[in-house]
């Protein structure tokens, strides 16, 4: 008999995800992904004013605040058939794109790179050799011998205190760690530089959204940013120019550091292009609307069955019935009352029914969504493949550039098919980030040009009719397709469902007992040491799991009680 391993919790950030694997002969033979919290936020929205829903939904998760705000207003606008002024689209586009760039940089460097990079090995790196390597790959100004020496000294001092702090939980010295001390030093240096750079992306969100972590400027029908170039309190030339400076700094880092690091690390872990593909039916949605109706987009999206890019089916507008009619959720294996088969989100129900963890029954708080009855992988990989399938030039350029770098370092030709893998998901996220940083620049220009034409409109007032209407709002969020579904009756919310990216990827078995993307991606993953299942973590982390919005907080973990002073 093989070994059963349970990892709980698996996320470095929000939420509780449990992964169970059956390991036979050193490889995963069966797996289960389980959300360990209950979701029920939708219940709060019933009976409320649809104009307030965005402010409430952005509280679902601490990582993805803006994305729920945007999907929510889009859902209500879709139900009302309400157009959104161009300035509002551009401002929203800037916010969601800056947020996505922030999220991708933080995910790669601060949440997942340490699965591949050994911090303790970086202490042995030679700064001169590291600089030589770095300069051969990129022109980034932070790649000097002095910089690497400085970081090495700082790191040595930090580790010398005996308090590893943020680095405490790494699998240092694990046999699956393969980078040379120099590459490790390079990566750790960029980890620190990324800490600084990610703040610029957040500043863009803060200035346009009036505040972070929870933006204040969203509105059904537009945004609440008044534009008056001669006033101090609103969106001014000065603020717009500050944003442009941050965009340029982000572009420099993403193209000359992030994209290059992913290629370099990927090349040293070329075997991981053969691991972790899982489900290759990919779903993404178009985003960055360029008109008031949501029929033209800067970035394409759609469905790719079986990883075959020639079969790409584009989703064309916010109202495209191909998306609207294709989504269902099953609770056959989730801890909710079921028996009605998979339900469309407009008809969705969220009534808890907890059992124990049952391998063949119910075992998760995450529902199992399907697209035309099949599970789908969502996220940056789905997004980038859709862009390539749609022949979106910038994505083709960055994919080619990345694969060329990988091929040169690995000294073997690495094809596009290598993206269907654990390391491929990281590469796709970096490519997506590079595409998005260009979009950020172009959206900024469009906003400035439109204001220069004398258009300062940012809001169309919503009017709610008597009777029942329904709408879907989708957004290609950092972790993939996010959709909010709202039914409104006489101006009040009658049903609300959020189908979030991690629900797609962390889905348990569905109505026909087919396994979800995490589960499928783990099959055949080698596990060198079941006590330290780094390989399993690598694959799950490559999806960037974020369970807080997929499920809900119900934390029954046994906790050590500390002595505290009562007031």
């Amino acid at each position: 008999m093989g070994t059963r391993i349970t990892i709980d919790p698996i996320t470095r950030i929000e939420g509780h995800l449990r992964i169970d694997c059956q390991v036979d002969n050193g490889k995963v033979s069966k797996s289960w992904a389980s959300g360990q919290m209950w979701r029920g936020v939708e219940q709060i929205l019933l009976g409320r004013d649809p104009r307030d829903a965005w402010a409430i939904t952005q509280r679902i998760c601490g990582v993805c605040t803006t994305v729920h705000a945007i999907a929510s207003v889009r859902a209500v606008e879709n139900a009302l058939n309400l157009e959104v002024p161009l300035n509002a689209q551009y401002i929203r586009n800037l916010i969601i794109t800056a947020h996505a760039i922030h999220d991708h940089i933080v995910h790669f460097y601060h949440l997942s790179a340490l699965d591949w990079v050994d911090v303790t090995s970086a202490l042995k790196g030679d700064p001169a050799k590291t600089a030589q390597l770095a300069e051969s790959l990129s022109t980034w100004s932070g790649n000097s011998k002095q910089e690497f020496t400085k970081v090495k000294e700082r790191l040595t001092g930090f580790v010398g205190t005996g308090q590893l702090g943020i680095f405490t939980n790494g699998y240092w010295g694990h046999p699956a760690m393969k980078l040379s001390p120099e590459v490790n030093l390079l990566a750790v240096t960029h980890y620190l530089q990324a800490l600084d750079v990610q703040r610029k992306a957040n500043k863009i969100v803060a200035v346009l959204g009036s505040k972070t972590p929870h933006i204040q400027n969203m509105a059904v029908g537009g945004v609440a940013n008044p534009i008056a170039l001669d006033s101090q309190s609103v969106l001014t030339v000065e603020r717009l120019l500050a944003i442009k400076t941050w965009i340029d700094e982000l572009a420099d880092f993403v193209k000359n550091v992030y994209l290059v690091d992913v290629a370099a690390i990927g090349a040293f872990y070329a075997d991981w292009t053969q691991i972790g593909a899982g489900i290759t039916d990919y779903l993404s949605v178009p985003d960055i609307p360029l008109d008031t109706k949501g029929t033209q987009f800067a970035l394409p999206g759609g469905y790719i069955p079986g990883g075959d890019l020639s079969k790409f089916h584009a989703i064309k507008s916010f109202s495209d019935p191909y998306f609207r009619d294709g989504v269902e959720e099953s609770v056959k294996h989730a801890w909710y009352k079921g028996g009605k088969g998979a339900l469309h989100p407009y008809k969705g129900e969220t009534v808890p029914e907890y059992t124990d963890f049952q391998d063949n029954g119910k075992y998760s708080w995450v529902k199992s969504p399907t697209f035309y009855s099949k599970p789908a992988q969502v996220g940056p990989l789905a997004r980038v493949l859709a862009m390539v399938a749609a022949n979106y030039e910038p994505a083709v350029k960055y994919v080619t550039q990345t694969l060329d770098t990988v091929s040169a370092i690995a000294k073997t030709k690495v094809p596009v098919a290598a993206l269907h893998s654990t390391i491929g998901r990281h590469a796709a996220r970096a490519v997506s980030c590079a595409v998005q940083v260009d979009v950020l620049g172009s959206q900024w220009q469009m906003l400035v040009d439109n204001i220069a034409k004398g258009d300062v409109k940012t809001f169309n007032k919503p009017v709610f009719p008597k009777g029942e209407i329904s709408g879907v709002g989708f957004h290609e969020a950092p972790r993939g397709v996010l959709s909010h579904w709202v039914v409104i009756k006489d101006g009040k919310i009658a049903n609300y469902q959020a189908v979030v990216p991690t629900t797609w990827n962390a889905a348990p078995r569905n109505e026909s007992d087919a396994i979800g993307p995490y589960e499928a991606s783990l099959l055949n993953t080698p596990v060198a040491d079941p006590e330290r299942p780094l390989e399993v973590l690598r694959t799950v982390h490559s999806f960037d799991p974020c369970l807080a919005c997929a499920v809900h907080v119900l934390d029954d973990e046994q906790r050590e009680i500390v002595k505290v002073k009562v007031l």
């Binding site: 936020v41 990582v63 943020i166 505290v564 002073k565």
Partner: protein, 163 residues
Amino acid sequence: MRIIILGVGNILLSDEGIGVRAVESLKREYRLPPEVEVIDGGTSAMEMLDDLACADHLIIVDAVRSGKHPGTMVRIAGDAVPVFFKTKLSPHQIGLSDVLATLVLTGEQPGGVTVIGVEPCSLATGMALTPQIEVLLPKVVAQLVEELRQHGMAAERLEEEVA
């Protein structure tokens, strides 16, 4: 001098939102000196890195599980703070402790940290505090004002608005 009062918690989970509700009340009821910054952190993490960098003192207000009676207010300071974070008394520590650990790495950690915690009655889905915790709000806010006073910061009570 820069003092930050950070309210954390999820306002969609009733008493879980006590930290956020407390800083909302504080801002509504008091005029604070310019050195004091009040942040509604919700459940976020890395987004707050810039906001929390280089504070002289950080006061966190949050729902905690100290194993005591619901409605008990606790104060955690000094050596107990690292233990507090290690033992995950609060559901947000995964995020917040990472941010604080990162600030140590960048050399921008707060000069000191104090946690004001409230043991919740209920974490059920809902946007209102339970009545037992709601009545405690003035006490929590008063404690925050006292914490500020200990750092030499005077919070001035605003006149109650006549309805």
